[in-house]
């Protein structure tokens, strides 16, 4: 556990891209005062961990590491369920 693996590198990439894009949007939104850019930045930031889970799940499935792939699928399921609940809440208040 002292050398990063290939998967570590991929996750690092996904997180970095998500962070860079969302902070660019947030900075642009703050400077220009446009709420749309701020919303997009926050949403992208909230989606970054979800993207990471997707990447890890795909990698574990490809490695045929079934126990850990199932673990990762469960986590993905919980996040998707939370998104669904949020969508329902929003639909109820709109």
């Amino acid at each position: 556990m002292s050398q990063p693996t290939a998967l570590d590198r991929v996750i690092e990439g996904v997180l970095s891209v998500g962070l860079l894009c969302s902070s660019a949007l947030l900075a642009a939104g703050l400077l220009s005062g446009r709420q749309g850019l701020l919303s997009a930045g926050v949403v992208l930031l909230m989606m970054t961990p979800l993207a990471r889970v997707v990447v890890v799940t795909i990698d574990l499935l490809r490695q045929r590491d079934w126990p850990f792939a199932a673990t990762s699928l469960w986590i993905l399921g919980v996040l998707l369920f939370s998104l669904y609940m949020a969508w329902r809440l929003q639909a109820a208040t709109a």
Binding site: L19, L38, L45, V78, S82
Partner: protein
């Protein structure tokens, strides 16, 4: 909500991100008290902003820790099963608590963890014998010239603390590292640096599980959240780099002291 300058919020985010990352926390543990007690932000908006900035800081610290090979990914995955469910439940329950109950819960949670941390600051959890099998979830860690092996003990304790950490995260806007790091270190035999790195790795997912709910309830104040996040990012990256140079024992003691101080202030607010 008071008019706050973006620069002040940026600085607040940067300071909490720096200290948080040095301690292996998302920084929400300091951000929520600062925003509410010092800047007068309503607690729900503070919690929502904290949750989102915790996603940013934890993801940023995770990139540094992954690069160092400190993250125990398998252990992280197993524990995320519990934290994500906890985060979802906490996020759903948050709307049912009053401001006062939120403050009190916050104070009590911090006090308990501070005491635990102080009590265990002098212990080590690594095995110097390299032939020991670390098991499916254990691993190795290099410190200076030496490599240590550790095994994961008491997995059910790790799982329940992760569930609790997730719930606290969803409820109070903390990443939950505040609970996981001490428990993983104290009861489960995981070296503090690995515990902190693995916890940080999980925190993005934990926070996301409840952040969606705060967003849809309209608790996310966009300008506030954006300024705090933008400050927290460079702060936490610097903190994660500095954390390697800080002695683990002092790290624990520092964490304990800070926790107790913040706990008292938050609990007083909930009277």
């Amino acid at each position: 909500m008071p008019e706050l300058s973006a620069a002040l919020l940026f600085a607040t985010g940067a300071a909490t991100g720096l200290v948080g990352a040095m301690l292996g926390l998302g920084g929400g543990v300091f951000l929520v008290p600062l925003l509410t007690l010092a800047l007068g932000v309503p607690i729900r908006a503070a919690i929502a902003a904290s949750l989102i900035s915790v996603i940013a800081t934890a993801s940023a610290s995770a990139t540094v820790n992954l690069n160092r090979g400190l993250v125990n990914m398998r252990l992280g995955l197993v524990l995320e099963v519990a934290t994500s469910v906890g985060g979802l439940m906490g996020g759903l329950a948050a709307s049912r608590l009053t401001q006062r109950q939120l403050f009190l819960t916050f104070g009590i949670t911090l006090a308990v963890m501070g005491v635990l941390m102080a009590a265990r600051s002098g212990k080590r959890n690594v095995i110097a014998d390299l032939d020991v099998d670390p098991g499916v979830l254990g691993g190795r860690i290099r410190e200076g010239e030496k490599t240590y092996v550790y095994r994961v003990k008491r997995l059910p304790v790790a799982m329940s603390s992760s569930l609790a950490a997730g719930a606290v995260s969803g409820l109070l806007g903390l990443g939950g590292g505040i609970i996981k790091v001490p428990v993983l270190n104290t009861f489960c035999g995981i070296p503090i640096r690995v515990a902190a790195a693995t916890s940080t790795f999980m925190i993005g997912v934990t926070a996301a599980a409840s952040a969606f709910l705060y967003w849809s309830r309209g608790d996310v104040a966009l300008g506030l959240t954006a300024a705090v996040c933008l400050g927290a990012l460079p702060g936490s990256l610097l903190g994660a780099h500095l954390s390697e140079r800080v002695n683990a024992r002092y790290l624990k003691l520092l964490m304990a002291v800070v926790l107790l101080v913040v706990a008292v202030r938050m609990a007083l607010e909930g009277r």
